[in-house]
Symmetry: C2
Amino acid sequence: MTPPVPPASRPTLLVLDADPLPRLGRLTGRVRVEHADATTLAARLPDADVLLVWDFTSHAVREAWPGEGPRPRWVHTASAGVDHLMCPELTASDTVVTNARGVFDQPIAEYVAALVLAMAKDLPRTLDLQRAREWRHREGQQVAGTRACVVGSGPIGRAITRTLKALDVTTALVGRVPRTGIHGPDDLDRLIARADWVIAAAPLTERTRGMFDLRRFGVMQPSARFINVGRGQLVVTEALAEALRRRWIAGAALDVFEHEPLGPDSPLWEVPGLLVSPHMSGDTVGWRDRLGTQFVELYERWEAGRPLLNVVDKQRGYVPGR
Amino acid sequence: MTPPVPPASRPTLLVLDADPLPRLGRLTGRVRVEHADATTLAARLPDADVLLVWDFTSHAVREAWPGEGPRPRWVHTASAGVDHLMCPELTASDTVVTNARGVFDQPIAEYVAALVLAMAKDLPRTLDLQRAREWRHREGQQVAGTRACVVGSGPIGRAITRTLKALDVTTALVGRVPRTGIHGPDDLDRLIARADWVIAAAPLTERTRGMFDLRRFGVMQPSARFINVGRGQLVVTEALAEALRRRWIAGAALDVFEHEPLGPDSPLWEVPGLLVSPHMSGDTVGWRDRLGTQFVELYERWEAGRPLLNVVDKQRGYVPGR
């Protein structure tokens, strides 16, 4: 892919803002930084050379993207997923899209390990009993020797697999196409039918949307637990709630939801056996600085006319694997 | 050490009972099994060849052990620690003491990993917020790259060290005497002063009793967390509570206590930053069967006149390392 060529004059970098702002000090004097929010984005997009989607929770890009005429030649999102910004006009354009590939791998892998171990050791119940001042001995489950199926073979899914294997969990990885060490979608039902842990870490695309539906929860073992750290829309949430209520599976943890933030009225907070966390699996201390640094480094490549990294295949909706 | 020689007649195996009883079916016809509880133990001990301390929470052996005259030649406890049964008369006698070395290593190592990851990812707070139906994003801590100091270099401490290293935690192990890969007590203060995780997994002996006192908590970093999966008496509990209240350290988790079970009136249930669990770290599904099988296998060695395994050094109070 040919990299976009920077213009002779000082380029305009438009930032779709979120608090706290990115640290772009290293680019001072080399770039004209402008800011936008959801209401001003459409008006400012045509004048921008580069768009930094710092507010990765916003759907504003999809709504504001110009159909015709001038537009940024490069869009970078400070997130692993690009589902919130892709639209047919952006896909059809020659604008390059890059993502934050790499920043979230290790944190999310550790978060999944934390959930697996906490569920195996019945930690939520221990905390409930502590609150009730009640000493009630229980038996935990040994994690070593259990089986996991990780769905999503990108760097996040692979990091999860590495971490679970380090805990002696037998782990199968499922991707869009079978290749060495990675199962294809045809193996999915067979693998989740014998898994103790089913972990969703796939990008949201038309192929993955709603893939965890009532039928799939019915295939899983009654002792299985389901964890979603990918995107909320990978799961038919009402089907998961139903599977938990009917005890088709033993438990679940969701860190991502179709609508975020989850409102106080959501029934999900109280589904039995469901652990709800606020989309934080990838966010460890310093993560915003790491995202900012990653963008600055990409910018310097772009400025120098070198090929960008983390280039998204806009048709597929993610960075293709190596 | 010379193994105790089984008598020509069918030996008497006395079991200090706890529910559920051990499965000893494999020994049927080869041994006369009798049962005792704390009130009957003293009367039955003189007639027993072997004592199985199945109720490993009981201090009855220490109280009932005969000073003079006939006594069991072998005592096995279904626990890693022997502190609850040792007394000067037992130490001075030629009775062999064995323990459940090996059964708890992997479960406890996983339990410690569960606590480390849960604290790093702020999981207790996540569960509190879920109960309050409140979406509040927070930053977790990355576990990879942090430092742990594991105190206790027996198989449990070594298993904890292996598991933490698998999570890329830099881990130092402290034992009674320095040897290859193991620090001696002289290094302890230096190691805990820079540790993110201080983990107590030592046997309770006169050397280790109360070793985690106010001075030692004062040496730790304000960001450090303390975990005790050894014995309650390793810690001056009031000093730990004080250190947590003063925020000398960031958090702690206790699975063991000076007096177990912890009563509903204990102030420990509500110490800020303290996670209380009911002495369950080593107990995964099937653990009682594993303990029973381990005893049966040892019994068959004893019956055959072969040397016992897991023989406790009664002066030191644990099985010496290889």
